[in-house]
């Protein structure tokens, strides 16, 4: 927390696209790295999980070793010639969700070194404070004359190098703050460390009764612990963000003189011909020149029904190709693509959130000047009273040591660490340090529909089929990987009929011969049905009969519970969707949400959120698509599922790792509880200061009182934070 005022570089920048683009580009260029495969395991949580996963992976031929890291929920597989695509099904079979991560983006980074560096400093400060404390206890219990001086000297010999080494993070950050003309938390801390060390050396030299070496080193120790907790939280958040970018590696297949070449998306130029395989994401805006297929544009527009793509059709980056291979002529790539144009909208919205000042910021802003004034006043007061510089400096140092922001430095990081640890266990990653605080203020929740409240995968809603029809439908659907076909296989009971000449016609459907007659399953115009009713449907033709099979989107698990609990907590819940009115009304009715709007454009979503904010409401936006991105960025707080587009995940503060939507409701509760704890912690540490500062001002503060106030306040603040877990 003490870092908040100085560590802006660690925050995500104002423009998420700018953050993502270079990283994504680096990923694409680096390609596969060494033999290591890293998989993310969002559901692993216990000893049995470790054993299961490691055993299953070790059994795969070619795998030399597999080691699970439960803290990061990852498994590192040392395997030559084995790819993640071979390993993910293995884990899926034993019931673990796994996603590929790019090792290039996740190798030990500078941040990792920073963490070990901090731990080392904590270790040294801890060692020094224990040893000095042993000597100090002797001094407090009445050692005097030569013995006391000797003990002070030994303490000083331990303390001075320790402060020089362990205090570096504070000195460095205080120096940065001063050069920028600001007074952060670290300026009074550094001043206290230096002044107290100097006066203690002076006192030891002159055989004085009080030396603050114990207090100085303890101050270092507690503050480093706070700094380390703060670092951990941000490291987890950062690695989460890295993991999410690592999930999607943007490459494109370029057709150059008939040869296929895989290139980073950033290298595409307008006019290039690219190939988009079935199941692949369209890497750039373009016009279809060859091939026929269907396109899922739910992430861009929220529509849940696939759209046909024929030569001449214009596609946007981010859409998913479903059935057949498509050749595309690029019309706009990189910065000019529609994806980038939408993220420009995000950049404008993002700056609004950057202005949010956290509780810690506000506290440190008023704290630093107050402490400096208090110390200066006590120095001048005592100088005027006694005309003795030595006494005056002693008192000023005691004031600085006692008002040290030990507890303040721990108050926020300890709570945030406990809260984010708890939410992480439930499957929610917090990406931004102030996200919990903002989440606690939320009073309105806006959900996107497709991909957020629903899984984005269709489910059979109804079909007017007899046993024969079901058998034929199953047989035809079994021959295709189209989402609607998969839904039929999963959703219709019965035995598949025997069919011949089964073939998929990309962009239209599946056809075959059954008992000598041609049968077709697919789009209405192709099957020969007149498609008058709206909604997602596919058609089955057997001879001259035509059957309609209806689909609805399946609800995300936990969606109903999350909505119910949010409403129970007194929050206003709304649905804003780009999908058609029928589908949205259906989902809203199933969830019991009265306020919903359908056919909303991305701009309208952002405008609605802005309008709500203008009414003084604090909006939590939950969404996954590109059409939600601007709204996610302009909302007071935002959550997106891990299946979301990377632009949406970058724009949001929190990411749901699992499939369940339930943690959204938990998160609001935990956020409110943690803000309560932070306030309690501030109250506690202020209380300790109110009791101890008069002693210091009166010149009665001994190193014993300083040590007591410091450790008692730090420990009680930490314990209070741990109640959250």
């Amino acid at each position: 927390m003490t870092d908040v005022s100085t560590d802006f570089e660690s925050r995500l920048g104002a423009c998420p696209a700018c953050d993502v683009a270079p990283l994504a580009g680096r990923l694409a260029r680096s390609g596969p790295v060494r033999g290591d495969v890293i998989l993310s395991l969002p559901t692993a949580h216990c000893a049995a999980c470790i054993t299961d996963v490691e055993r299953a992976l070790s059994a795969v031929p070619g795998v030399r070793a597999a080691r699970v890291n439960l803290s990061l929920r990852r498994v590192v597989v040392d395997a030559e010639g084995v790819t993640a695509d071979d390993l993910i099904p293995v884990l899926d079979r034993i019931g673990y969700e796994a996603h590929e991560l790019d090792p290039g983006a996740l190798t030990a980074t500078a941040a990792d070194r920073q963490g070990r560096d901090l731990l080392m400093r904590i270790g040294v400060a801890g060692f020094a404070s224990m040893n000095i404390m042993i000597l100090s206890v002797a001094v407090w219990s009445g050692a005097d004359a030569a013995t006391r001086d000797l003990f002070h000297m030994i303490s000083g010999a331990i303390a001075l190098p320790t402060v020089a080494f362990a205090g570096q993070p504070f000195f460095a950050s205080a120096w940065r703050a001063l050069r920028a003309g600001r007074l952060g938390m670290d300026v009074p801390i550094s001043l206290a460390l230096i002044l107290a060390s100097a006066i203690s050396v002076f006192e030891t030299w002159n055989s004085g009764p009080h030396a603050y070496f114990d207090g100085v080193v303890m101050l270092c120790f507690f503050l480093l612990v706070g700094r380390y907790l703060d670092y951990r939280t941000r490291a987890v958040a950062r690695s989460a963000a890295e993991e999410l970018t690592a999930l999607e590696v943007p490459r494109a297949i370029l057709l150059r003189d008939v040869a296929e070449e895989t290139v980073p998306v950033a290298d595409l130029r307008p006019g290039d011909l690219i190939l988009v395989r079935p199941g692949g994401r369209v890497p750039a805006d373009g016009v279809v020149t060859a091939g026929a297929s269907e396109i899922d544009r739910s992430l861009l527009t929220g529509e849940s029904v696939p759209v046909a793509a024929r030569p001449g059709a214009a596609l946007s980056a981010g859409e998913v190709n479903l059935t057949g291979p498509l050749t595309l002529q690029v019309t706009a790539a990189g910065r000019d693509s529609s994806l980038s144009r939408l993220t420009a909208l995000v950049a404008a919205a993002e700056s609004a959130r950057g202005r949010y000042t956290s509780i810690a910021d506000r506290a440190s802003r008023s704290y630093a000047p107050a402490v400096h004034l208090l110390a200066l006043a006590s120095f001048l007061g005592w100088l005027w009273l006694t005309r003795d510089v030595r006494v005056a400096v002693n008192v000023a140092a005691a004031v600085l040591i006692i008002t040290c922001p030990c507890a303040l430095g721990l108050a926020v990081p300890a709570v945030i660490t406990a809260a984010s640890g708890r939410l992480f266990r439930e499957g929610l990653l917090i990406k931004d340090g102030t996200a919990l605080e903002r989440l606690a203020e939320v009073d309105t929740v806006v959900f996107d529909k497709t991909g957020t409240l629903t899984m984005g995968t269709p489910q059979v809603a109804g079909a007017d089929l007899d046993a024969e029809g079901r058998a034929v439908a199953l047989a035809l659907a079994g021959g295709s990987a189209h989402p609607l076909s998969r839904a039929i296989v999963a959703g219709i009971e019965g035995q598949a009929a025997e069919v011949e000449d089964l073939r998929e016609v990309p962009g239209y459907g599946v056809e075959a011969r059954w008992q000598g007659n041609p049968v077709r399953l697919g789009r209405a115009d192709w099957v020969g049905a007149d498609d008058e009713a709206p909604g997602a449907a596919t058609w089955l033709r057997i001879g001259s009969r035509v059957h309609r099979i209806d689909f609805t989107d399946s609800l995300r698990p936990g969606a109903d519970k999350a909505v119910a609990r949010l409403r129970h907590a007194g929050l206003r819940v709304m649905i804003l969707s780009g999908d058609g009115a029928g589908a949205v009304r259906d989902i809203a009715a199933r969830l019991g949400v009265e306020e919903w709007r359908a056919g909303v454009t991305p701009q309208e979503k952002a405008a609605t959120v802005a309008e709500l904010s203008a009414q003084g409401r604090h909006v939590l936006m939950v969404g996954d698509g590109l059409n939600d991105t601007a709204a996610l960025a302009s909302a007071h707080a935002s959550i997106s599922p891990a299946s979301a587009l990377d632009a949406a995940r970058v724009a949001s503060d929190m990411v749901l790792v699992g499939r369940d939507l339930g943690p959204v409701a938990d998160a609001v509760g935990v956020a409110r509880a943690s803000i309560r704890r932070i306030r309690e912690n501030f109250a506690l540490s202020i209380l300790y200061n109110v009791v101890a500062v008069p002693f210091a001002l009166a010149g009665l503060a001994t190193p014993l009182i300083a040590a007591l106030a410091m450790s008692l306040s730090s420990v009680s603040v930490t314990l209070n934070a741990l109640r959250l877990r």
Binding site: C46, A47, S71, I154
Partner: protein, 52 residues
């Protein structure tokens, strides 16, 4: 008070030993996965012989 001549170096030495052990553990990457290590001890898979 002559005893201090031994006791202080002894106490510093013991503390230094602890610090050394901590640095060793840190270098050995024993703080990489605290949660996993806490759970691994519950597994009985390699109880009879060490993992090859």
């Amino acid at each position: 008070m002559e005893v201090l001549v031994y006791l202080i170096p002894v106490s510093l030495g013991l503390g230094g030993l602890g610090l050394g052990a901590f640095v060793w553990a840190l270098r050995n990457r024993q703080y990489e996965d605290p949660k996993g290590d806490a759970q691994r001890i519950l597994s009985d898979e390699w109880d009879d012989r060490p993992k090859p």
